[in-house]
């Protein structure tokens, strides 16, 4: 019998604990873990047989690892990923990959040079409905796509709250990095890196240190135009809801986590399963059950791909490789730049004059502002 793949899960926050549970449940994996804060390691150390570390460096020095799964705050990613790659260890890293996309690109080159798998946790690419979106777009059945709306909403920041790394822009917190990264990554998947980003706004609603909503317009090399609309202070959604709507010359597609709705003006030989008019595919039909389920099949599916690729001695990630994650980091950087340098086509609003009143009456700000 071949030896089990040895994987360390690094960082046991909300996402890290889920990863630890999923990796540890994999029948072909021997799992260790590492977290810098003492409390969880103390509790788990008393109750689990796994070897647990408080120091990443000590763990790398003492363990013979095949791979690491890194789920620490984003600003730690680059140095931790580099340390692992330099030791010849495969890496799965949580998103967003690196706060400086050039660093992500350099890590992609390092992984490629060393023949190591570098994968990033953009799990939406493993959601059945979004996989179907990719397949449909690749078929060309929708004609030329010209109009895209990419949205994500959810209830993360609903009041002014305690400062954590998630609320610090410098640490990779904020709605752009945390939420918008997902729809952007889906757009990069099918349309590449945008050639131009304009009209970007990063607004704070409740957060002091970072953004709670993002609006932007992206133009892709193929001519497609996408509007990005993301807000993580939207309590009307029970949890994060991501939706991509696309209009092409032969129809329209609306995709979210649950379903893929497609309208074709004319049936297409390239997409024989869909006829003219509306068709709906549910994610329940489009997804295979994994060996273990926690919070959604897509989380297990991405880990399964990573584990299997490591065990099989592969040298490239099957999906979400470092290079593609760096592309998303670059897109994020373009939005940050654009938001900081607003375009010239703006006018300074004159004092509002409504029925003879000036400022202080029901002017534009009090009607539409916050």
């Amino acid at each position: 019998m071949s030896r089990k793949t040895k994987i360390a899960v690094v960082g046991l926050g909300k996402m890290g604990l889920s990863h630890f549970s999923i990796v540890n449940a994999h029948p072909d994996v021997d799992c260790v873990a590492c977290d810098a804060t003492g409390f969880l390691i103390d509790v788990l150390g008393k109750n689990l047989p796994n070897t647990l570390y408080k120091s990443y460096d000590k763990m790398l020095a003492e363990e013979t690892l095949d791979a690491v799964v890194i789920a620490t705050p984003s600003r730690h990613h680059a140095s931790m990923v580099r340390a692992a790659l330099e030791r010849g260890i495969h890496v799965f890293c949580e998103k967003p990959f690196c706060l400086d996309w050039r660093e992500g690109d350099a890590l992609a080159s390092l992984a490629e040079e060393k023949g190591l798998i570098g994968q990033v946790g953009y799990h939406y690419r493993y959601v059945g409905a979004f996989k179907e979106m990719q397949k449909v777009l690749a078929s060309g059945a929708l004609g030329d796509i010209h109009h895209i709306l990419a949205e994500a909403y959810g209830p993360v920041v609903l009041r002014p709250k305690r400062q954590t790394w998630r609320t610090q822009k410098a640490e990779g917190g904020g709605c752009l990095y945390d939420y918008a990264a997902h729809p952007l990554n889906l757009l990069n998947w099918v349309f590449g890196t945008p050639e131009r980003v304009s009209g970007s706004h990063l607004n704070s609603i409740f957060s002091a240190g970072t953004d709670d909503e993002v609006l932007s317009t992206l133009k892709f090399p193929g001519g497609q135009l996408a509007q990005l609309s993301v807000n993580w202070s939207d309590e009307s959604h029970r949890k994060m809801s991501t939706k991509i709507s696309l209009i092409g010359t032969n129809g329209r597609m609306n995709v979210d986590r649950q379903e893929c709705q497609i309208y074709l003006r004319k049936a297409s030989d390239a997409l024989p399963d869909y006829g003219a008019g509306w068709s709906v595919r549910y994610t329940t039909d489009l997804t295979e059950d994994p060996w273990f389920y926690l919070r959604g099949e897509e989380y297990s599916a991405q880990i399964a791909d990573f584990v299997e690729a490591v065990a099989a001695g592969e040298t490239r990630a099957r999906e979400n490789d470092f290079r593609s994650a760096a592309m998303t980091d670059q897109t994020i950087a373009m939005i940050v730049d654009d938001a900081g340098n607003p375009g010239t086509a703006s006018v300074t609003p004159a004092p509002a004059v409504v029925a003879g009143k000036t400022e202080g009456g029901r002017g534009w700000r009090s009607l539409f502002g916050r």
Partner: protein
Amino acid sequence: MDRLLFGDNQFFGINHMSEEKARAQAMRFQSTDAIMAVLDAAYDAGIRTFMCTTHDRISEICEIVRNNPDRYPDFVFYPCMPYAHKYANAVTDLGMLGAITNFMPEDGFLRTALSGGKALAGRDIEGIAKVLIDAEMKMFRGLNTPVVFMQNVFTDLLLGMGYTRALKVFHDHVKEKYGAEPAFITMNMPMLFEALTKEGIENPIICSNINKIGFRMSGGHERYLETLRTGKLRAIAMSVYASGAIPPEEAIEWISELPNVQSIVFGASSRGNIVNTRDLVEKYMGAVGTSQAAQ
């Protein structure tokens, strides 16, 4: 346990097929009266057990049932805890330790211990777990709660981590303090059954997806059926219609032929769907309630 249990997903905007449908349901059930009207229809159709999360809204339902013993003499609650979103949000807001402290009683020893030092808290994680269970059970005081569930997100997180000792802590506390049957919801039934057996928990009550097409039966359809055939457990089947992918009669008939499936839990928003499910269960599995109340 009754043959047919009524679930609460539909009241809280949870729908595995469509976000639009989920939103429409969330709008419809914004008022507790609307939820109560559906529960009344289920109760009057002979379905006496309400399997529910420990969502804040449920405490309002508890209050109504508590205040109307004549209307609901046989109403049974099966609480499912913890309400994961509540804790997940607290962890985001306050951090792991802060979240736990937040849910501790104001004046308790454990709160003092937690704020006093991490090491001490680390040693009494069992005590913390028991206090959290008690906090979740508060809304059900004075009501009939013969079975208490651990929610699947929590069960499966612990299961994957291999922290199965915590499942045993939950099991023992529910039994000892509430004289109730501990039970577990999971998306990984065969794996959970093995883990519970290793912890010495015999003939466990396990609620999991069981349906003809194998939708969300992780570990494989065949392994589920094998566990049902060979294991000693009291299974509750959920998602029997696989979110509408299986015609109701075909779904229930298939379930009725499986060994060790004692109950079905289902959600519905209309009297018609409630009565249809009840009639199908009666046709293939016998009376929906264990009490004579079923009509």
